[in-house]
């Protein structure tokens, strides 16, 4: 469109060839650069599929349901890791969503002076910038020792539940979930805050104008209007949590023995790859590639679902 607009008036006054070539070249260059993203994505998929083919051939779909991981007899199944990925990210989400959305409401809904709320917002955003490996370090040396008594108490009082029936001894699923909460909280908060801020002021006025209380307006008008953005953010952070590697690897214990207990060491796909890829060879590499493929597909589904939800739930304001 714009291109034709800019060319037409100059038809009769021909531009120098060099300039037209430059324009054409520029267009080709940026088009090629843009396409590189898609190409990289497809390439990632292709390489991972190719590398995992041997394992797919040997284990087939039973790879997803077996929890064996035995480099000696070359028998691999990723069930423990897949289960760990899903459980850790979903539980982290369950904790982080109320906290994050609540924080976003606290920041945006004029509950506190603007100066304090923007400071809070800044702090949450800075939390998002802290590298996950630093959070992992902190988790190992500060958080895990600090929460161990609580986990022990859980075990002694609720030990009859399968979820708490092992004794906590350092790294495990529970601390990994907590560190995941720390990692995705800023994402949920930031996206929810943006979504809440985009709710038109007229809608707020309408709500307050008919005599709703602050929380009446928030629950019945503002949150429903912002729900698409918030849900998108939730799905996005679910994808992040499933793919999060370092902090989880450092604190989850990296055990392939399946256990229902949250206090026992576990594994996620990402942490399993990070932990074993360096020393693996042969069919173990291929199995890890297969696991990568599963992880990639999982995050892909979640991300596409996120985009779909945002579109589906968007309310129309005129």
């Amino acid at each position: 469109m714009t291109a034709s607009v800019n060319q037409q008036p100059f038809r009769n006054r021909r531009r120098p060839l060099s300039e037209r070539m430059l324009d054409q070249g520029f267009r080709l260059l940026v088009t090629a650069l843009a396409c590189s993203v898609g190409i990289i994505l497809l390439w990632i998929l292709r390489i991972i599929v190719k590398e995992s083919l041997p394992a797919i051939g040997v284990f087939g779909l039973s790879f997803l349901t077996k929890s064996a991981w035995d480099p000696v007899s070359n028998d691999y199944g990723a069930f423990t890791a897949i289960y760990g990925t899903l459980v850790s990210s979903l539980l982290a989400l369950a904790i982080a969503v109320p906290l994050g959305v609540g924080t976003a409401i606290f920041i945006t809904e004029n509950l506190i002076p603007r100066r304090i709320s923007s400071l809070l917002g800044l702090m949450v955003e800075l939390l998002a910038a802290i590298p996950s490996v630093v959070l992992g370090l902190w988790a190992i040396f500060v958080m895990e020792p600090a929460i161990r008594p609580i986990l022990t108490w859980l075990h002694t009082t609720l030990g009859w539940l399968p979820l708490f029936d092992t004794e906590p001894q350092g790294p495990g699923m529970a601390p990994a979930i907590l560190i995941l909460v720390v990692m995705i909280l800023p994402i949920i908060t930031a996206i929810s805050r943006d979504a809440l801020q985009q709710v038109p002021g007229e809608l707020r006025q309408a709500a307050y104008g008919i005599g709703t209380t602050r929380w009446g307006a928030i629950c019945h008008v503002i949150l429903p209007a912002a729900i698409s953005g918030i849900m998108g953010g939730v799905m996005l952070s679910l994808g992040r949590a499933m793919g999060e590697t370092m902090a989880v690897t450092m604190i989850i214990g990296n055990s392939n023995n399946f256990s229902l207990s949250l206090l026992a060491p576990g594994n996620t796909i990402a942490s399993m790859i990070a932990n074993q890829f360096g020393e693996a060879d042969g069919s173990q590499v291929s199995s890890l590639m297969y696991a990568s493929l599963v992880l990639m597909l999982l995050t892909l589904i979640v991300n596409i679902l996120a985009q779909w939800i945002v579109r589906k739930l968007s309310l129309r304001y005129q």
Binding site: A3, V37, W43, F106, V124, L137, W138, W215, S292
Partner: protein, 331 residues
């Protein structure tokens, strides 16, 4: 001043189906109780959300800050069990690998962003391409960082594609670049979209070519948001670990032999050593933290805290700088 009447409506509406009370605020009303409870809950949520930042910062600053000295930057990590030493190689390595990544990702990302914002209009092909690129960008930004590492490992490290070398600084840089790319495309695209169309029409109207319009008018006008996004993208990549552990790996040595500064070898040879880290394993602060955190040696663990300190200061500094840049230019 008249006292507020106690819950008596001076003008009761006869036959109203609404319960109307006085204007006085009554905290015991269910709706006011609900308000107080909910406000308290979200205040607690905000406190809980901020708590980790405060705690992480406090520990990193205290545990890492104690060790900050010049030696930290000029010495190599000690052998396990030995005290002292520094993380000089990791600091240089992080700068190096992140620099390579930026060198690769920034031009490609800005080019892609320019395409999305300035060129992707018109025919059906252009629109399809735009959807492809947008979708690719969104999906790629959701790909776990460890997968970027696995991808570059399978592509370059395992196949020894680069002059027969396996683990290398370039491989690490490429993995980080894959990670940075979507961020930079998005910020460029969004930054350029903020430029008002009038500016473009103005340039085109006086006969500027598309190339000139973009390079001289729209890109400079969108400089601040793009620069902000690029700084944030680089800062995030500098702290990434997962893409590096099987690409750049780690090294206990300086990226360059110490003789490069004052060796007795010839100048030409020393110059050719400059490329060493590009084709060999390179240390980085993030991988150092990961490796040293899991060792049982307290000296190495404290070096991990020191590296965290430097990394966090660098990254938070870049974040605050970017924010300040944006605020400054908005004035």
């Amino acid at each position: 001043m008249k006292p507020i009447s106690e819950a008596i409506d001076p003008n009761p509406k006869a036959g109203s189906l609404f319960q109307k009370s006085g204007l006085r605020f009554r905290p015991s009303l269910p709706r006011n109780l609900w308000n107080a409870v909910m406000t308290t809950l979200v205040a607690i949520a905000a406190g809980v959300a901020v708590l980790p930042l405060v705690l992480v910062l406090a520990f990193v600053l205290i545990k890492g800050g104690q060790l900050i000295s010049l030696k930290l930057f000029t010495e190599l990590p000690p052998a396990p069990g030995m005290g002292g030493g520094g993380i000089g190689n990791a600091v240089i390595g992080t700068v190096l690998v992140t620099g390579i990544a930026a060198l690769l990702a920034v031009p490609v990302g800005i080019g892609g962003g320019i395409y999305l914002a300035e060129f992707a209009q018109g025919g059906r092909v252009a629109r399809a391409l735009k959807v492809f690129v947008r979708f690719g960008t969104n999906v790629l930004s959701g790909v776990p960082s460890i997968i970027c590492g696995v991808f570059i490992y399978a592509l370059i490290v395992k196949t020894r594609l680069l002059f027969g070398q396996s683990y290398s600084g370039i491989a690490g840089g490429m993995a980080l670049a894959v990670l940075m790319l979507p961020t930079i495309i998005k910020t460029t695209d969004e930054g350029l979209k903020l430029v008002p169309d009038e500016l473009r029409w103005g340039a085109i109207g006086v006969g500027a070519s598309k190339f000139t319009t973009v390079m001289k008018i729209t890109l400079p006008a969108a400089f601040t948001p793009i620069a902000t996004g690029v700084v944030l993208g680089i800062a995030r990549a500098a702290g990434e670990t997962a893409p590096l552990i099987f690409t750049a790996l780690f090294s206990n040595y300086w990226p360059w032999p110490e003789t490069i500064l004052s060796g007795d070898t010839g100048l030409l040879e020393r110059l050719s050593q400059l490329k060493d880290p590009l084709l060999n394993p390179v240390a980085s602060m993030s991988v150092l933290i990961f490796n040293f955190a899991s060792t049982p040696y307290p000296e190495l663990q404290s070096l991990a805290w020191a590296a965290s300190f430097i990394l966090v200061i660098m990254i938070l500094g870049a974040n605050l700088l970017a924010r300040w840049l944006g605020r400054f230019a908005a004035r």
